[in-house]
Structures are given as C-alpha cells and as structure tokens.
C-alpha cells in the first residue's frame, strides 16, 4: 500500500513540479538564511552580554599598527611595565593566540592568558600557572601532563561548557575547544623562548579602569619598543560602533526573513490546497475502492515531507553543526517544523473530510 502511495505522490509532484520546485527552493533559502542569521545574531548578543559583564569598569584595549621599519625589542622598561601590569592582583590581562609554539603538535588550539584573565571572566584558577581544558577538548583529561614549549604543565581542571571571553578584536570567543594556560607574565617569560609572541602580547592587552597615566605609559613603552604602534581604544565605543550595529543589522535580516517565512507558509498552504482540490475526484474514487482517510493523510504527509519538512530539517540540522551558535535553536526549529507539518496536514485532511463522494462523482 505504501508503494502505491509513494507512486501516487510522485505523480502528484510531476503534475505540480513547477510549484513544488519553487517551494523547495524557497524552503532551502529561508532555512539557510535563518540558520546563518540566527548564528550571527546569537554571536552578537553574546558579544553584548559579555561586554556588558565587563562594563562596570572602563575597559581599554589597543589597536595595533605594524609598519615601522625598526626591529621590535622588548626593552627593560617595557618588561618592568608588563610585569607590573600582568603579575599584579588586578583584572588586567593579555592573551597570546598565535605565534606561540608553532611546532608543538596539539590537537586543540592553545590560548595563553597572562594576568587577571581568570578574575575577569570568573574562572576558577587561583594558582598560576594553571592549565585548563575547554569542555569539548578531547585527548587530555584532568591530571594529565601537557608539554608546551618544552615546559610540562599538569591539567588542573576542565572549564564549564559555554565558557567564553571577549576578544575586543574578534568579539565573543568560546573556550570550549581551547586549551587555556593562565599564568603570570614574569613566570611565563622566564620559561618561554623569546619570540614574536612578545609583540603579539603587547597588542592584545586589556586594561581595566586604567588611569590616563597608565595608558600613556603603556603606549609610550610599547611604541618605543619599535616595529609597532599601539592606539588605545575604549571597549564602550567598540560596543556602540560595532556590536550594537551588528545586532541591528541581524534584527533587520530576521524581520525580513520572518516575512519571507510567512509568505512561504502561505504558499505551502495554497499549494497543498490546490493539490487537494485538484485531486478530490481521484481521492473520491479511491475512497470508493476502499481507501481510508489514513491512506490519503499518508499521501499528504509524504507530499509535505518532500516539499517542506525534509529540506527544512536537513538544512537546519546540517548547518546547526557548521554554525555552532545556532545549534541551540535546533530543537526549537525542529518543533516548529513539525508543528507546521502537522497543521498543514490537518488542513489538508479537513479539506478531504468535507468532500462528498456523490457530488464529486457526478458528471459536471
């Protein structure tokens, strides 16, 4: 019986091929756009939330301009300043994301955070150095020893899932897939081969509620090291100019695709209605030969699965993995898709249940 229903559905598709193809295309574009916009929106909201969590203080970071022909040299004055800034008890921190241990074969990226990073983001790492694993890092476990630049570190703990930090240059950054080393500047510098990480560190420093003199001192010391120029920036300004604007753009996009979704639903409803009404006489004959409403419901469901439910589910399911920030919406999206499927099928069945076999089989 299911073979017959499949065959009949295929014939109905063939009869409505133009409309069904348009429908499938619309479902694909809408689902795809929604997944990516949701991903971007969640990311923007995360940026704002995380920035707001730091906003009780004036947060200063630095834009970096390379291009000075002079070679970079970590002067003793700069070394002292970094020690004072990143070994103290404040929340000031600096991070090294790249250019560190390029030859160390680790499965997960290493983030080195020097200074008060743990305090700034409420991480449980009281003693430095502390090596922490992101929630999704595999291959190591608590207590294991990991060697970074020939220095062995014991994994102290695993970070809670969803741990993140705000990279003023990149926005919200998840720590779930990251190996995080929290240390003081002086201890890390003592054990690590001098390299380009020193220059990166200077450009990735974040100061909490610094005095004007502290900012000037930092800029002066960094600029005299050569090879780079740093320009202090306020996180508040960045939040206004970048993150809020991005959220607005995404909201506009969601509004647009919300409307498209409504047009899509109207189209599906009309195409389904058109399918049912144009096949009423056939359905009536099948009813005469013993088909029950359940069989016809199965055929309507097959039609809906191919034209709407399957494309939408595949797109949401597949891209939820590619766009991790949208993954949280997958259960909701699946529930909505299922609900729409059921509502549309119910409408089709309502139309079918109203058919009068005698009237339909009477010649016009």
């Amino acid at each position: 019986m299911i073979g017959y229903q499949l065959d009949a559905t295929a014939r109905e598709f063939a009869a409505l091929r133009g409309r069904v193809l348009l429908l499938i295309l619309q479902v694909l574009v809408t689902a795809l756009s929604l997944v990516f916009t949701l991903n971007d929106t969640v990311r923007s909201v995360n940026d704002l939330t995380l920035a707001a969590s730091l906003a009780d203080e004036n947060v200063t970071y630095f834009d970096v301009s390379y291009g000075d022909d002079a070679d970079f040299t970590l002067t003793p004055e700069l070394d002292d300043l970094l020690t004072a800034t990143l070994d103290g008890t404040t929340r000031d921190y600096a991070i090294i994301k790249s250019n560190y241990m390029p030859d160390t074969p680790l499965a997960s990226p290493v983030l080195v955070a020097l200074g008060g990073f743990a305090d700034a983001y409420g991480l449980d790492a009281t003693d430095a150095p502390a090596l922490l694993l992101g929630a999704k890092v595999t291959g190591y476990d608590v207590g294991a020893t990991v060697e970074l630049d020939a220095v062995p570190y014991q994994v102290a703990a695993r970070l809670p899932a969803g741990s993140a930090y705000l990279d003023p240059w990149m926005g919200y950054e998840s720590l779930d897939d990251t190996i995080l080393l929290i240390d003081t500047y002086s201890r890390f510098a003592q054990h690590t081969t001098p390299g380009i990480w020193q220059q990166e560190l200077l450009g990735r420093t974040v100061l909490f509620d610094p005095t004007a003199a502290a900012v000037t001192g930092y800029v002066d010391a960094t600029n005299t090291a050569g090879g780079m120029q740093v320009i202090p920036q306020s996180l508040d300004q960045r939040v206004d100019s970048v993150y809020r604007q991005k959220t607005s753009k995404n909201t506009m996009f969601l509004l647009f695709f919300g409307c498209l979704l409504l047009v899509l639903l109207a189209t599906i409803t009309w195409v389904l209605g058109s399918l049912v009404t144009s096949n009423l006489r056939r359905y009536a004959i099948e009813r005469v030969y013993g088909a029950r409403l359940g069989h016809l419901a199965a055929r309507l469901s097959l039609f809906l699965v191919v034209s709407f439910t399957a494309p939408a589910t595949v797109i949401f399911g597949f891209f939820a993995f590619i766009a991790p920030h949208a993954a949280g919406f997958l259960p909701v999206a699946l529930a909505v898709i299922l609900a729409v499927h059921l509502l549309l099928a119910a409408r089709g069945m309502w139309l079918l249940s109203r058919m009068n076999v005698t009237t339909l089989l009477r010649t016009e």
Partner: protein, 319 residues
C-alpha cells in the same frame, strides 16, 4: 483580495528592510571612503631606490594642485595615527573652516594638525606627534567621516609612501599626480575608487540573500495569483460566455487589485519603517521620499503582476 493585500503588506515590510540595508551599506561604504565622490581615485605610492626627498615631491605636487580644486587624503604606510588632508575643494570645510592652510598655500612650513575629539592624543599631543606638527585644535568626527586620531596639512609631511585618495572634477588630476611621484623615483599604482550602487551591493554579502529571497517571493506571488485565478475559473468562463475578453478582466480587476496592493504596501512600509526606527540603527532608516517611491513601486508592480497572471490564467481556463 485579502490574501493579496496581506502579501503586499509583507512585501512592503521586506522592501523597507532592503531599502534600509542599501541605505546603510551605501553610508558605510561612503564613510569607509571618507565621503569622497564616485569620481575619486586611489593612488598607492611606494618608495623606490632612487626616490627623491619628500620636500621635492611635495613642492611639485602642490604646484600641480594649485591649478584645480581637489580633495586629497593621505594615509602613510608607517603612521597609524594621522591622516594627511589637502582640501582646496572645501569638502571638509566643516572642520577646516575653508582655511588657506588646508589648500596648501600658506606661507608657513609647519605641518598643522587637528586632533579628533575624544582621541587619546588630546592633551598629550606633544608626546605623540612629531615636533614638526603644530596642533591648531580639535575636530568633531561626527560632522566628517574622518576617524583617524588627527588630520594634518598634506604635502608638508616627511613621508611620501602610502595611499592617496584623490577627488577632483579634473579627471586627469590623479594621473598627473601619479606622474609626479613616478618622475621622482616612486612606484605608483592608480585605480578608481568605484563608488557605485553596484559596488555597494557587491560589498555586502547580505544583498545576495535579500535579492534571491525577493525573487522567490515574486515567484510565490505569481503562484498565489495563479491559484486565485484557478479558483475563479468558473466565474471567468461565465463572464466569457457573456462577452468578456482579456481587457475586460483588467478593467474589472484593476480597482480592487490596485486598492489592495497600494493599501497593503502602505501598511507594510509604515510597519517596516516603525520596526527599523525601533532598532538601534536610526541612521539606516530610509528617508520618506525613498519610502514613498518604494511603496508606490511595490503597489504598482504587484498590481501589474496580479493582473497579468490572472489575465493569462483566465484565458487558459476558458480555452
């Protein structure tokens, strides 16, 4: 017709969002190019082995520029703080006050500068700016699309290598300026700035999503109109029997279709504009004239699509 009006409303909202998107993209693009006009050019200058001193080049460049009105902006390769400005066209007179120094014809030789309001340089100019720079005051970055830490009078600076943005009514000025640098031993690369609607659309990936979605909605609209015509096929057949033809349908359906499309479109435009205004992006709200054009265009286009689709279907049904 209620369905048609509802779709017109949804399309009205969507088109308002798209207009807001294009307005915002055009503004971002313009800001990124310092608000220069579409005729502007970009000249990249690199120092060659036999490059002359900057004073020689500056002098020749100024001689050339005194002959025409122009705006030239300079970003030096090794300076992330300042931006050189020559403005005999008065484009940035809101901050320069149309002063002679910004036209490069002052008798003085100092590099004059305005520091951006809110910059960390304010009050610390002597520590960060070269000794040759004399600070005149500050400028308000909200009135001009210049976001560097400070702007200084161009063609008195010591650095020549970098990127020049040249905007002038004289189409040959950029090429002649490039020739000045080349003659003095610099390597040059000249390209148009290309500020056009198409380049704005191309610069924003979201534009493609908007465009493809609008095309799909148009397809849906044709489908829905066709379905409406199919539902009314018996009525059309009866009309035909009593002498109706394609033109009759157009005359008969035009008033209700136009009313539904225009009213739906108007409601959609107002709702879309209200939604945009409630966002944190008031500057991306299109102007009333643009919204009026979009609303009328949407209404007229939808009426046309409806009448054409119904007319074709009605003729087929009768046949």
């Amino acid at each position: 017709m209620a369905m048609f009006a509802a779709v017109a409303m949804l399309l009205g909202v969507m088109l308002t969002v798209v207009t807001g998107h294009v307005t915002g993209a055009a503004r971002d693009w313009s800001d990124a190019n310092f608000g220069l006009s579409s005729r502007a050019s970009i000249l990249v200058v690199q120092s060659g082995v036999d490059a002359e001193l900057s004073s020689t080049v500056n002098s020749e460049a100024l001689s050339l520029l005194t002959q025409v009105d122009a705006t030239v902006i300079f970003e030096a390769d090794d300076d992330g703080l300042g931006m050189g400005l020559y403005d005999s066209a008065g484009r940035y007179s809101a901050i320069t006050g149309g002063g002679r120094d910004w036209r490069g014809d002052s008798s003085g030789s100092d590099v004059l500068a305005l520091v951006r309001e809110g910059s960390y340089l304010v009050g610390r100019e002597s520590s960060y700016l070269p000794d040759s720079v004399r600070v005149l005051g500050s400028y308000d970055p909200t009135v001009v699309p210049l976001s560097s830490e400070y702007v200084y009078t161009l063609f008195r600076q010591e650095t020549t290598s970098g990127t020049y943005f040249i905007d002038s009514a004289d189409a040959q000025l950029a090429a002649r300026l490039a020739a000045v640098f080349a003659r003095n031993g610099y390597m040059t690369e000249l390209a148009p700035l290309e500020v056009s609607v198409w380049s704005v659309i191309r610069s924003e990936p979201l534009s493609y999503a908007y465009l493809s979605a609008l095309l799909l909605v148009t397809g849906s609209l044709i489908l829905l109109c066709g379905n409406w015509a199919a539902q009314n096929r018996k009525r059309f057949a009866i009309h035909r029997m009593f002498g109706a033809h394609s033109g009759t349908y157009t005359t008969y359906l035009l008033p209700p279709a136009a009313l539904a499309a225009l009213s739906g479109s108007a409601v959609g435009i107002i709702a879309g504009a209200a939604a945009l205004a409630s966002l944190d992006s008031l500057s991306e709200l299109p102007g009333p004239f643009a919204l009026l054009i979009v609303g009328l265009g949407n209404g007229i286009a939808l009426t046309g699509i409806f009448l054409a689709t119904v007319s074709i279907h009605a003729r087929r049904q009768v046949a």
